[in-house]
C-alpha cells in the first residue's frame, strides 16, 4: 500500500495521476516503497515539482525546493508527450538534449526513475477508455 499525496497545482495533479495508475500493482509498490529519493521534474515554461519518495509515501512540493536532490529532469511539454506516446525513446531524448538531467551519472537512480515514471506514463497514455465518468469511481 502506498499513499500518493493529492496535489492542487497542475503538474502535481498530473504527476499524481501518472504515479497513481499502478498503485495497486505489487511490483510497482515494491519499486516505490522505501526508495527514499527526491527528484525534481521541471516542464519548460511551466515550473518545477519536487517528487519526494519517502517510505510508502509519494509527496509533491512546488516551493522551497530542496537544493540537494537525487535527480533533476527538465523537458518541454512536447517532449513529455512524445515520450509518453512512444514517439521518442527517453534515452534518445537525453542524448539529443531534449531531456536535460542533472545526476545522469547516477545510473541506478536514472533507471529506477525510468521504471517508475516513464513506464507509468506510457501505461496511462496507452489506456483506451476515455470515459472519465466510468474511470473515476473512487471520486465524488
Amino acid at each position: 500500500m502506498i499513499n500518493i499525496e493529492k496535489a492542487d497545482d497542475l503538474l502535481g495533479i498530473s504527476l499524481n495521476n501518472i504515479l497513481s495508475y499502478r498503485k495497486k500493482d505489487k511490483d510497482y509498490i515494491k519499486l516505490v516503497t522505501n526508495w527514499n529519493k527526491k527528484i525534481i521534474i521541471e516542464i519548460e515554461k511551466f515550473y518545477a515539482v519536487e517528487v519526494i519518495f519517502d517510505g510508502n509515501e509519494i509527496k509533491f512540493k512546488i516551493d522551497n525546493l530542496d537544493r540537494k536532490v537525487d535527480l533533476k529532469v527538465k523537458m518541454s511539454l512536447d517532449t513529455l508527450l512524445d515520450i509518453a506516446y512512444e514517439r521518442l525513446n527517453p534515452i534518445n531524448a537525453v542524448l539529443k538534449g531534449k531531456v536535460k538531467m542533472k545526476g545522469v551519472f547516477k545510473i541506478g537512480i536514472v533507471l529506477k526513475f525510468l521504471k517508475i515514471f516513464v513506464t507509468s506514463m506510457k501505461l496511462v497514455a496507452s489506456q483506451s477508455n476515455l470515459k472519465y465518468y466510468e474511470l473515476n469511481k473512487e471520486t465524488r
Binding site: 492542487d8 495533479i13 515550473y47 512536447d78 497514455a125 470515459k131 465518468y133
Partner: protein, 493 residues
C-alpha cells in the same frame, strides 16, 4: 422608462376559480397549487430573490396553452415558462406569482428531424442530452451544437435567448440558427414564423426549412430576456457531422495572452469553436473545489476545435492554426499547444467533460449556488476585461472563473465571469453578489451586453441605454403583451 400601470393579480377572479379553470384545461392531475409542488419552482441556483408561483401546470399540447393564454390575458394572470430551471439568471422565478408552465414533463418531444434539409423540429421541453442521444441513434450523420451546460438543460430556452454553443466560432449565437417558431400571442392566436408560415391550420413538418425571406418577425419573440409570446415549437438547424474532428489545447502564460488567441485564431475561420477558461476552472474540474493559481502555472486554457471532411482538409486547417499560434508567440505571446486527447490522459481524464458537451461539468454543478455575468463582448476589450475582473475576483477572495468564447469568426466574443457558492450558507449570497455587482459594473462600462439577465442587472442597463431604444422596446412589449402577463418583471417591465 415609461410608467407601468400597477395592477393586482386576481383582482376580478378568486384563486379557487383560477384553479378550477386550470383543471378544466389541463386535467386535475396536471395542475397543482400545493406548496410542496410549487416550492422547487420558486428559486434557482442564482442569488435572485425567490418568488412563489400560485399554480404549476403541465401542458400536453398547444390547444391547452391557447386556452391558458386567453384565460390569463382576460384575468391578468402572469405566465412563466419553465423547462428545467437551469438558467443562471433567475429567469423562471415568478416575479409576480401566477402560473408556471412546465414544458419539461410532457411537451418534450422531438417532433421531426429533416435529414435532407438538416433541421430538428422541437417542443419546448426537449433537452440537449435528449437531442444528442436521438441524433446519435437515428441520424448519426448529423450534429447539433451544445452549450457549456448539463444534458438536462432545455434546447429551446437556450436558443430563443441566444445562448452560445460549441460551434459558436463558426455559427455565432444559437439564436442565429433558428429556422422557425410557433408562438401563441397574448390574444390566444397561434402565429408561425419562418417558411412554416404556409398552411391555414397545421404546418407541414417538412416546411420548417428557412427563416427568410419574409420580414424577420422572429425578432419580436426572441432575446426578450422574458417573453412576448409563448413559444410552442421551434425548428433549429443541424449540420453534417464531420468525418475528422480534433480538439487542441492552448495554454497561455501571461494573464491576457488568451485574448489574442480568441481574436486571431477565431478570424482564421478554420475552427468550429474556441472556448477559454481560467486555469482555476481546469482545477475545479479535477476536484480542487477552491483553487488558487500558483506561480509558473498558465493563466488560461483554451480549447480549439477543428473539424474537416477529409484528412487533407483537416491537416490544412491544423497548419493554419499552428502558424497563427507561432506568429503570436513571435509577437511576444507565450502559448503552448497540445493535442487535448493526449494531454487529458496524462493530466486527468476528468477534464474531458469539457470536450463531450453537453455534460454535467463539476466546475458548474459542484455547489448549490451558481451565478454569473454572461455577456456578448467587443473582442478588442478582452484584455482590459480580463485584467480588471481578475483583480475583483482576487479582492473578494473568490477563485477566478472567467469563461470566454470566440463568436462568428471573432466578430464578437462571449465574456462570462462565473461564481459557484454555497447557496444555503448564511451570508454567502450577499458576499458573492457584491463581487458580481462590481464585475457587472466594470463589464457594462466596457461595453459588454449581458444576456439571460437577472432583474437587478437590467436595472443597471436601463441607466445607460439610449432612451429611444428603451421606448421602442417597451412599445413593442406593450403592443404584444398589453396586460403584461408574459413573465412580467423581466427587464423591469
Amino acid at each position: 422608462m415609461t410608467s407601468i400601470k400597477e395592477r393586482k393579480i386576481y383582482e376580478n377572479i378568486t384563486i379557487e376559480e383560477v384553479g378550477a379553470r386550470l383543471e378544466e384545461i389541463f386535467g386535475a392531475s396536471n395542475v397543482s397549487k400545493k406548496q410542496v409542488d410549487l416550492y422547487p419552482y420558486s428559486y434557482d441556483m442564482t442569488e435572485s430573490p425567490a418568488g412563489m408561483p400560485d399554480f404549476i401546470v403541465i401542458p400536453e399540447n398547444k390547444e391547452q396553452l391557447v386556452e391558458l393564454v386567453k384565460f390569463c390575458n382576460d384575468h391578468v394572470i402572469p405566465i412563466v415558462p419553465y423547462i428545467s430551471g437551469n438558467n443562471v439568471g433567475g429567469l423562471t422565478i415568478p416575479e409576480r406569482g401566477g402560473i408556471i408552465v412546465d414544458f419539461g414533463k410532457k411537451m418534450n418531444k422531438i417532433l421531426y428531424i429533416d435529414d435532407n434539409m438538416m433541421y430538428a423540429l422541437l417542443e419546448p421541453g426537449v433537452t440537449f442530452g435528449q437531442l444528442e442521444k436521438y441524433l446519435e441513434e437515428n441520424h448519426p450523420n448529423l450534429r447539433y451544437s451544445y452549450p457549456f451546460a448539463p444534458p438536462y438543460a432545455g434546447v429551446v430556452g437556450n436558443v430563443i435567448l441566444s445562448g452560445m454553443n460549441n460551434m459558436s466560432c463558426k455559427l455565432g449565437s444559437m439564436g442565429d440558427s433558428i429556422n422557425g417558431i410557433e408562438v401563441i400571442t397574448a390574444d390566444g392566436e397561434i402565429a408561425r414564423i419562418g417558411s412554416c408560415f404556409y398552411g391555414k391550420e397545421e404546418a407541414d413538418i417538412k416546411s420548417w426549412w428557412s427563416r427568410y425571406p419574409m420580414p424577420d418577425l422572429m425578432g419580436i419573440f426572441i432575446n426578450w430576456q422574458g417573453m412576448t409570446g409563448l413559444v410552442t415549437k421551434c425548428a433549429v438547424q443541424l449540420w453534417p457531422k464531420p468525418k475528422y474532428k480534433k480538439i487542441y489545447l492552448a495554454v497561455t502564460f501571461g494573464l491576457t495572452d488568451v485574448a489574442s488567441i480568441i481574436r486571431e485564431v477565431g478570424r482564421t475561420e478554420v475552427v468550429d469553436d474556441i472556448s477559454a477558461v481560467s486555469v482555476e476552472v481546469v482545477k475545479m474540474s479535477v476536484e480542487v473545489p477552491e483553487p488558487t493559481k500558483f506561480p509558473g502555472e498558465p493563466d488560461f486554457a483554451a480549447l480549439l476545435v477543428i473539424s474537416a471532411k477529409t484528412q487533407k482538409e483537416f491537416q490544412a486547417k491544423k497548419e493554419i492554426v499552428e502558424e497563427t499560434i507561432d506568429n503570436l508567440n513571435k509577437d511576444g505571446k507565450n502559448i503552448i499547444i497540445a493535442d487535448v486527447d493526449e494531454f487529458s490522459k496524462l493530466f486527468s481524464l476528468r477534464v474531458r467533460c469539457y470536450l463531450d458537451l453537453p455534460a454535467a461539468l463539476l466546475s458548474l454543478v459542484e455547489y448549490s449556488g451558481l451565478t454569473w455575468f454572461g455577456s456578448y463582448t467587443p473582442s478588442h476589450k478582452l484584455e482590459e476585461l480580463i485584467e480588471k475582473v481578475d483583480k475583483v475576483f482576487h479582492k473578494h477572495k473568490i477563485p477566478s472563473f472567467i469563461y470566454m468564447k470566440s463568436m462568428k469568426s471573432s466578430h464578437y466574443s462571449i465574456f462570462r465571469p462565473i461564481m459557484r457558492y454555497k447557496k444555503f450558507t448564511e451570508g454567502e449570497e450577499e458576499r458573492y453578489h457584491a463581487c458580481l455587482e462590481e464585475i457587472a459594473d466594470i463589464c457594462i462600462d466596457l461595453g459588454c451586453i449581458p444576456y439571460k439577465t437577472p432583474i437587478w442587472m437590467t436595472k443597471k442597463l436601463r441607466e445607460r441605454i439610449n432612451p429611444g431604444w428603451l421606448n421602442l422596446f417597451e412599445k413593442i412589449k406593450n403592443c404584444l403583451d398589453p396586460n403584461n402577463i408574459f413573465n412580467p418583471g423581466r427587464w423591469n417591465t
